[in-house]
């Protein structure tokens, strides 16, 4: 079975996000108001995995997240798994 995987990787709370800070400044320059220090920039990773069942694919996704997609020192992750139509 082919599964559609989407992984969202975000910075943990309390980790300095200099890119978010820069974007916040730019929003301000554009006159677009928002709460200061609230801009946080993450990343999305998409892939397809062939697996026998839901449990097997979830195990693989977690391993990918833990060993490569996210750095646990500064990042957290969540994922969405759907069956490819």
């Amino acid at each position: 079975m082919i599964y559609n995987i989407v992984v969202f990787v975000d910075l943990k709370d309390g980790v300095l996000d200099t890119a978010g800070k820069a974007v916040s400044k730019s929003l301000k320059n554009l006159g677009l108001s928002h709460q200061e220090r609230s801009v946080r920039i993450g990343k999305t990773i998409k892939l397809l995995i062939e697996a026998e069942n839901d449990a097997q694919v979830e195990k693989q996704v977690i391993t990918m997240c833990e060993t490569l997609f996210a750095n646990p020192v500064i990042e957290q992750y969540r994922y969405e798994i759907t069956k490819e139509a």
């Binding site: 300095l16 820069a22 490569l68 750095n71 020192v73 500064i74």
Partner: protein, 233 residues
């Protein structure tokens, strides 16, 4: 006794490291990321600077899971000396051979300039050629050099004397103004708890041959390498 310099796709400071080692009179050889062992005559392994895997995903993330780093972990476990410079520091943090991580510089800019650094202690064998509070100067050239770890880790690094160099000014003052990239506590170089693995963002190999050191504290990188090669523990 040989210094082995690892190379990855995108490494560009490997030859600088080899040339510096040769200049100081030692043997240096290159290893490739697909190699699976560190030779037994290794006295030091250098993980050099550059843009391995284009800094894709995270700096050093893919280097950290390459076969040669798997071999490096065994070598470090056995007490072998490892020096990660710039991208090498990033790889060692990703590989969990060192604590913390390197974030994008505070001002978002790529910074390339000479940098004064204060020697925090005389951690053997790395800093045995210096004295405490000595000022050295190694250049920095990085986009993601902001050292970050949670407060508990920083406190532990401080208490265990694992912080080796801090960014400072010419007079040795350490403060936010002189901090080039936002690193916590101006940390420029650390070691692991055992003291055999070191990572630093500045480039000591670029201040070994006085010809390329801008005449600023010329040759102040040399004692670092002599310390490892000459000091037998």
């Amino acid at each position: 006794m040989t210094v082995y310099v690892l190379t990855f796709p995108g490494s560009n400071c490997d030859q600088d490291a080899v040339k510096a080692i040769h200049y100081l009179g030692y043997r240096a050889e290159i290893l490739w990321h697909q190699d699976t062992c560190i030779p037994s005559d290794a006295r030091l392994v250098i993980v050099p600077g550059g843009f391995s895997w284009g800094d894709y995903l995270r700096c050093g993330a893919m280097g950290a899971i390459s076969p040669i780093i798997t071999a490096l972990k065994r070598y470090a476990q056995d007490g072998g000396y490892v020096l990660g410079i710039c991208n090498g520091f990033q790889i060692l943090c990703e590989a969990k051979l060192l604590e913390g991580t390197l974030l994008r510089n505070r001002e978002q800019d790529f910074i390339a300039r000479p940098c004064y650094l204060k020697v925090e202690n005389q951690k053997k064998p790395w800093l045995s050629g210096y004295v405490k509070n000595q000022i050295v100067n190694f250049p920095i050239a990085h986009h993601d050099g902001c050292f970050w770890a949670d407060d508990a880790t920083i406190e532990r690094l401080e208490d265990n004397h694992q912080i080796l160099l801090r960014y400072c000014n010419e007079e040795g003052q350490i403060d936010e103004l002189i901090n080039p990239n936002g690193s916590k506590k101006n940390i420029a170089a650390i070691c692991n708890a055992r003291g055999n693995v070191v990572g630093m963002m500045p480039h000591p190999e670029r201040n070994v041959d006085p010809v390329i050191s801008w005449n600023i504290l010329a040759g102040s990188g040399a004692p670092l390498f002599h310390g490892i090669m000459e000091t037998m523990q």
